[in-house]
Structures are given as C-alpha cells and as structure tokens.
C-alpha cells in the first residue's frame, strides 16, 4: 500500500455518545467482518468493558476501503480509552494518528471529556472531522450542537457529517470524509526506524504484543530492535496488523499501523509512548512525549483468607503482564495482615483491577480506602512521599504536608452553576474561571484537591446537577494543606487500615460520620464494640455496636428445611466477606466506608 493511500485516525467521544457503535458500523461497512462474524461492539473485547460500556484497553483495526475515487485505501482505526484515568494512553494513541473523528451526541452536545480529548488532538495537529451522531433521535438538534462545537472548540463544522451509528445513516459519508480530509502519513522508509508504541498486551503464546505506529523506516521479521526508553533489545518474531483479528504481514513501513511481537516477556519492557528503533541503524533521537507511568491513587489489597496471599501475588503479576500502569509492593497491616499496596492511574483503574482479581482469579479481597500521594516535609528537612495514611510520620515530626491538586473542568447547563459552585467549595475547590459554551451551557474550572475527587466529588456533582454535569481533570500541582490523620479505633485498638488523611477543619465532622457509618456496617457481635474516631490522642467521635443478645431461629415450620438452610447459607456467605480485626469481625465494605460519607 502506498503511503498516500493510508489514513490513520481515532475516534474521540464522550461515554455513551456512540463511539463503539460507530466503530462497529465502520468495520461492518468496509467488510472486514461479515455480518455473521460481527458481534456487537467488537472493539470492546474485555467482558468488563462490555458490562461497563467503556473502553479500557485501546484496540486497533485496519479497514480496507474502496473509495468513490476508485482507489483502495487502508484506514487504520486506533481506538482510545474513554476515561479520564487513561489520559496519557489517549495522548499516545492520538500521537499515532493524523486525524480524528469527533463524535458528539446530537441530543447532548459537547461534554467535558470530549473537550479535553479534542484539545489534546489539536495539540497533536490532528485533522478533526466532526460527526454529529444519533441524528435519528427525535430530540436531536444537530444545528445547535454544530454551533456549540464552533463556539466551544472553535472548530469549523462546515465539513461535519450528520450520522446515526445505530441506523447506519452517514457511515459512507464518514468514510469519504476520512479519505478526503485526513492527510496521509508522512515519513520516510529509508530513514532509521522510529516506531511509536501506543498500546501493548500480553499474549500467552507470543509474549508481549506491541501496537506500533511507524514514523520512519520499516520493520520486518527477524530484525533486531531496541526500545529507546527501557533499552530492551529483542528480535522480531511476528509482524502484522489487526483486521480486527491479528493477521501477519511481510513488513510494516513508515506511516503504517500494526503490531510486532518478539521475545518480550514483560509488559514493563514495552512502555506505551516508548520509541522502537533498529539496533543495526538506530535513530539518533526518540519520538517526543514519552512519560513514565505515575500512579495517582494507592490502596491496600488484602486477601480475606491469609492463605490466599501467594495467589494474590500471582494474580497481580499476571495482571501486570498486561498493564504497565499497575504497580504493587508488599505491605503489612496490623489489622489486615499481609497484602499489597497497589498504585493505579485512577479510581476506575482501581475498580477494574479489583474486580478482575475477584472475578477472574476468584480472590476474596479487602480493599482499603484509596489514598493520593502526600508530600510530607519533615522537621528534619526531608520530603517523604506517603501513599498510605498509616505511614504518616507523627505530627511532631511534620513541618508541613502538600497534597496533589487537579485542574477540574466541569460542564453543566447554566441552571446548575450554583450547585456546582457549592459542591466545589465544599470540596475545598478554588474557583478559576467560568465560560459560556452557548446560551445555556457553562464550563467551570476549579483547582481542587485530588483527594476530594477521589472521595465523592463526582457523585455529588452528578446528584446535585441531576446527572447533567460532566467532569474532566488533570493533575495540576502540589500545594500545602492543613492535613491531619484521622484514626479509627475498634474495641479500643487502632485499626491502621481504617486511617485516613483529612483536611483538619473537617476532621471532627468526618470522624463523626465515619464512626456512624461504621456502626451501620459492622454487624452485632458477641460483645459490645466501641467505635472511636481520633485525631492524635483526641477522640472526636464515639459510637457503639451493641452486642448480640441471641441469634437462633425459632420454629422450623412443618418441615420446611429448605427455607432454614437458605437463611444459614446467607449467614455463612456474609461471614465469608468478613475480616477478623483483633476480635472484631469487620465486613469488607467497612474499609471503604470513608468513601460513603460526605
């Protein structure tokens, strides 16, 4: 395929605006898959992704399209993860493209996440084709949405395509627009090889498979290649592209998108954003934009049954093969025993990993409340990064603490501006700016602690704006805050896994709420359990879980054993989700209770 007939593009869309459905239609229309082979939303292949309707790992697919000009084109669709946790991955996917489809729901308009990704695409000089989707819906208002795109993004919408991924309307026009408006890749086959890794995954048979976009040079089987950031050298054993099943090709050349595999056993050696070059004729400079993985959120993962410790380790190692962003190291908690401190890109990433561990590896886990990384400056003049509240040095050794802040972008109908401001202020947000996107939609920008976002900022936003708010955020900086450690004591014993770092003015209030929540969550036991919240040695709240007085079923009615058995099974099931902390049985949810208070 001549370079001039190649088009590399992504689809940018807010969740539920129809990205996956549109991808399905494009695949269907170009006949890569017959209708029979076509499964709904083929690109979202992980079970979890399907359930949650989001893309976690990016995928690519090569489409062969015979355009109206009579020429045949190779269209490489590079899917991007659709969640704020994976911003860096999105940026690498976009860097592999020359253009992007901006899909906006004709009934909803532009959302915060869409904006963030469009700006990122513009930074990469991508040609953007607006696609106004869902025009088949009665409430669709394409003209208004077009105007909004022009006003909010400053994008010319004269070449916008009106489409319905659901009915197939506009799909041909989209394909023609891709050919007509997105430039072919530039690049020189004869120059030293430079290929961008924008995704990777672990295959049980072939090892790590890297998704690459070749900027210069070419890759053939048998070549010896090197990762420029990690330094890893390997021999190429497979070269191919996805259609969407992997297909071997003789070579990949400048401008092409495809995959390579070699003797790569560890996904850690294959970093997204890294540049691949050839050892025989190495490129002098890597491609710009590489960044190491920096987890933003940490939590402890502990097996309910301590005998599962090694299984948890094995499972984490297996998941890590496929997920360079997941980091973990052993950790010991007085309350929970042996487990792992794990770092994640964000809350969704954390949820996904936790769910996969439980679902795919059948582990019963206790997850401690997520924490950001605090920069603790000690009186000795050191800076310690603390990702676990239990490890906060004693107050007398702390000079000051800095916490991470983000720039949060919120888009809402103007009726809810007051509500957003209220919630943001409650969450210690600092107002930065407000802009009208059109006559009734407003974009607000706040500087707000990441820890508040992790708690329930978005939930609160959603509930106070009746679901209309959309949120995007990016790490801004670290700033000093008045923070203290809030400890929880059960039965008089501090439980390290329940400690949190909180804003000092809110400490007493949070302590009271947390103690109340724990009282609801911890079931009655054989003895009374006092729950105390403390800041330092000062008790700020106290609640009691009263003792069980008795626990026995009375009558077994007329021999209905089945009903009785079900009750016992329920009781046993509940007990399985408990962790003995000292003499107190604590249910799993209790360790996340801090997320459930406002």
């Amino acid at each position: 395929m001549q370079t001039k007939n190649i088009r590399n593009f992504s689809i940018i869309a807010h969740i539920d605006h129809g990205k996956s459905t549109l991808a399905d239609r494009l695949i269907e229309r170009t006949g890569v898959l017959t209708e029979r082979e076509m499964k709904e939303q083929v690109l979202d292949s992980m079970e979890l992704e399907r359930e949650r309707g989001i893309t976690i790992k990016a995928q690519t697919v090569r489409l062969t399209y015979k355009a109206k000009d009579g020429e045949t084109y190779e269209l490489n669709l590079i899917d991007t993860p659709g969640h704020v946790d994976f911003t860096y991955e999105v940026s690498r996917s976009l860097a592999a493209c020359e253009g992007a489809l901006l899909v906006v729901d004709a009934t909803q308009g532009v959302e915060a996440q869409t904006l963030a990704n469009v700006y990122m695409a513009l930074e990469h000089d991508l040609e953007i084709i607006p696609v106004i989707n869902k025009v088949d819906l009665l409430s669709a208002d394409p003209e208004k949405v077009k105007q909004e795109i022009e006003d909010a993004i400053g994008l010319d919408t004269s070449n916008a395509v009106l489409a319905s991924a659901k009915t197939g309307v506009g799909v041909d026009e989209i394909l023609e627009a891709i050919v007509a408006h997105i430039p072919p890749p530039s690049g020189d086959e004869t120059k030293p090889l430079r290929a961008l890794i924008f995704d990777s995954y672990f295959d049980a048979y072939k090892g790590v498979i890297a998704h690459v976009r070749l900027m210069d040079g070419l890759i053939k089987k048998g070549m010896e290649l090197q990762m420029m950031a990690t330094g890893k050298v390997f021999e190429v054993t497979d070269v191919g592209c996805f259609q969407p099943a992997p297909v071997e090709v003789p070579q990949l050349a400048a401008g092409d998108v495809g995959f390579i595999a070699g003797s790569l056993k560890n996904v850690r050696d294959v970093r997204v954003g890294d540049t691949v070059t050839a050892t025989a004729n190495p490129a002098p400079e890597p491609l710009p934009g590489y960044r190491g993985v920096t987890p933003m959120v940490y939590c402890g993962l502990y097996p309910v049954d301590s005998a599962d410790y090694d299984n948890l380790k094995d499972a984490l190692e297996k998941l890590q093969l496929n997920d360079a962003a997941l980091v973990f190291e052993p950790e010991t908690s007085v309350a929970l025993g042996f487990g792992y401190r794990c770092g994640f890109l964000g809350l969704l990433h954390m949820d996904v990993i936790q769910e996969r561990l439980e679902r795919e590896y059948h582990l019963e886990l206790i997850t401690t409340a997520p924490s950001v990384i605090y920069h603790v400056h000690t009186t000795a003049g050191e800076m310690i990064a603390v990702d676990n509240p239990a490890k906060l040095p004693p107050p007398q050794n702390i000079d000051f603490i800095e916490e991470p802040f983000v720039k949060a972008t919120v888009i809402v109908p103007n009726d809810y501006v007051g509500a957003v401001m209220q919630v943001s202020q409650d969450k210690r947000g600092e107002y930065k700016s407000m802009d009208y996107l059109d006559t009734n939609r407003v974009m607000l920008i706040y500087h707000i602690p990441l820890s508040e976002i992790i708690y329930d900022y978005f939930d609160q936003l959603k509930s106070t704006t009746r679901g209309y708010a959309s949120l995007d955020y990016e790490l801004a900086d670290y700033q000093p805050s008045k923070l203290v450690k809030l400890d929880i004591l059960l039965n008089g014993e501090p439980v390290d896994a329940l400690s949190t770092i909180v804003f000092s003015d809110q400490a007493a209030h949070r302590g009271r709420q947390l103690a109340q929540k724990l009282r609801e969550l911890i079931p009655k036991q054989m003895f009374e359990i006092p729950i105390q919240a403390a800041v330092g040695s000062k008790i700020v709240a106290r609640e009691n879980v009263r003792a069980y007085r008795k626990d026995v079923l009375a009558k077994c009615y007329g021999g209905d054993i089945t009903r009785k058995r079900k009750l016992l099974e329920k009781q046993k099931e509940g007990k399985k989700r408990m962790k003995a902390v000292g003499s107190v049985e604590v249910p799993q949810e209790a360790f996340m209770a801090v997320l459930k208070i406002h």
């Binding site: 007085r549 026995v552 054993i561 089945t562």
Partner: protein, 378 residues
Amino acid sequence: MEYGVYIHIPFCRQKCSYCDFPSVAGHEADMETYTDALCKELSAKGAELSARGKASTIYIGGGTPTALPVPLLARIIQTAQAVIPFADDYEFTVEANPGTVSLETMTMLSTLGVNRVSIGAQVFDDAILKRIGRIHTSQDIRDAVRWARAALIVDVSVDLMYGLPGQTMEDLKWSVGSSMDLAVTHISVYGLTVEDGTPFAREKAAGTLDLPTDEAEEEMYDYLAETLPKFGFRRYEISNYARHDFVCRHNLGYWQDRPYFGFGAAAHSYHDGQRSANVKDIGVYIKAVKCGDSPAHTEESVTREKHIEEFCFLALRTAEGVDREMFSKTFGCEVESLYRKAIDELKTKNFLEETPTHFRLTPLGMKFGNQAFAAFLL
C-alpha cells in the same frame, strides 16, 4: 423405616399480626372442597405409604386445623386412619386454637385416635392476645386444656411467645405460671421474629411496634431456659420443653433425619433424598388434586454434601446432639474427617461440648444456634 405424616390445614379465623405461615382467613367457602381434595390426596398415596411400613407419627397443623367445622376435620382424620398404616405406639397430634375448640371438638379428636393436642396459647394476658391479633382470651386457653383432659387426651402442649409488643417479664412469668397451673405436658417457646409482609413488619416500618429491647428479650429467653427445667420440663430441643417422655416425636423426626410425607397445600415432604413441597395456593392445590395431577414440586435434591450438613445442623437443635455412630453409619465416614476444625472452633467459643458418643450445643451454643449451624455448612 419409620416415617412421619404431616397434614396442612391452611385456614384461620383471622390472621395473627406476626404470622407469615401459609394460611388464609375468610375462606370458609373453600373448606369443603379443600377437605375433598386433601382426602383424595391421602387416599391416592395410601398404597405407597403402606408399602413403606408404618407411620410412627402424624401431625395435623396449620393454619388452624380446628378452624374447620368438626365434621370436616373428622373426615380428614378418619381418612388418614383408613389409608395410612399406623405403628402401635403412634403419636397423633392436632394443633388447636383456643378460640375454635369446644368439648365436642376434643371428644371427636380423642374418639378418632388423636392422642396429643398442641394449643396455640402464646400468652395468658388478654390485652397482649388482642394486640397480636389472636382471636381468643386467656380463659379460652384454660377451657381448651380442660376440655382436652375431659376428653382423655393426656398429652397437651402449649405454645408460648416472648418478645411481643408491650410484653414485659412479669407478663411472661404470668404466662409460664398459668401453663404450670394447667399441668401441661409440653411447652414450645418462640421468640417473635418480625417477618416481611406481616402487619407487624408494616408497624415496625411505621415505628409503632413497641417491641421489648434486645436486652429485655434476652432476659425473657434466659428466664425460660432457666425456669422451665425447674418445673420439670426438660429442654430436649432449642425451643421445646417436655415433662417426662412427652416429647413431640413428630417434630423430633425433622431434626433426626427421618422421612416425612406432607399432604395439603404448602405441605413439605422429605424422603428418598428429595425435599418437595405442595403448591401454596389453595385453589391451585384443589384443582391439581381434582384433575389427578401431583400438587408437589421438588424443592431440592439433597446431595450427599447437603445431607451431611443438614444431618448435623438439624441434630444440633436437639439436646442429644449429633450421634457419631449414626453419622458414620449413614455416611460411611467419621464426623471428625469433615468437621474437626468446626467442632474445635465452636468448642473454643463454648458453643459446643463433646461426649464419647455425641457432640451437642451448650446452653450458650443454643442461644447462638445460627452461628453454630452455619459452621456446619461445608
């Protein structure tokens, strides 16, 4: 093989406020067709039961069996007598509501071979009886017991409840004392549980259910467990107390893994490794039996694992506990091989005690029976 027979009468004069048992009030019109269907179901099963040997116990429960007109109840008993072969020392119990019996009822029961009545007394305080939706007074209870005795039914049991709205310890003591005055042979005690869908559940949700505190309820439980034995009532099962040998052999059968056959709407059966139940709806039941269809559906096949679990957690309800020899005879393995760890853990909690031949719940273990039972789920 010994087996039991259970017959369900799903009618009541009035539903009590705590009751979620399968019974209905105000269906007098269905009583005769129901009796027809029940007798037909019994007759149809007669041959199968005869082939299995003799029934050692039969129990007519409800609902309220005595809510039926005397001739209908008599027909059911006669049919049972005619089609089911009884062992010589059979136990035949009929449940009775004091508000629906007379000397005539008791005489009929006795004449037709019923040798045990279980009277739903609940409490001996008229205000509380009214509060919980009972249709009778405390005097009705006394009359019912006296009429049973007059009809020469020796074995008379009363049900008592504790933890009721408005009930105090003094009320409970009065009820126990009143039962002693009547010289009953057996007492069943039940703590109130507020079941979903009952009037009490609605009252609880509305905040108008004046239940005793957990502590007060516990004191009532402790009082019963301590006091009844002092009056010569042996606690042979968690909720059941008997004088001398007047245990309810039918109910013991449930705990001791014996087969039973249920008749009538919502009746449960257990035999040949299957647990089954008849349809609950009276109309559907009548129609099915009329058409010659089976009203039963299988609830579960009792696998070996489930059988082992049930064998243990049911036997643990009894004072005797689990008989090791019986266990190994039934399952071909030692109880230790499966439950050593569970037994030791429960022993540490002082929930369980062992003898060379048995292991059984301690009084504390009985109080927290659910936790002990759950430990026997494999």
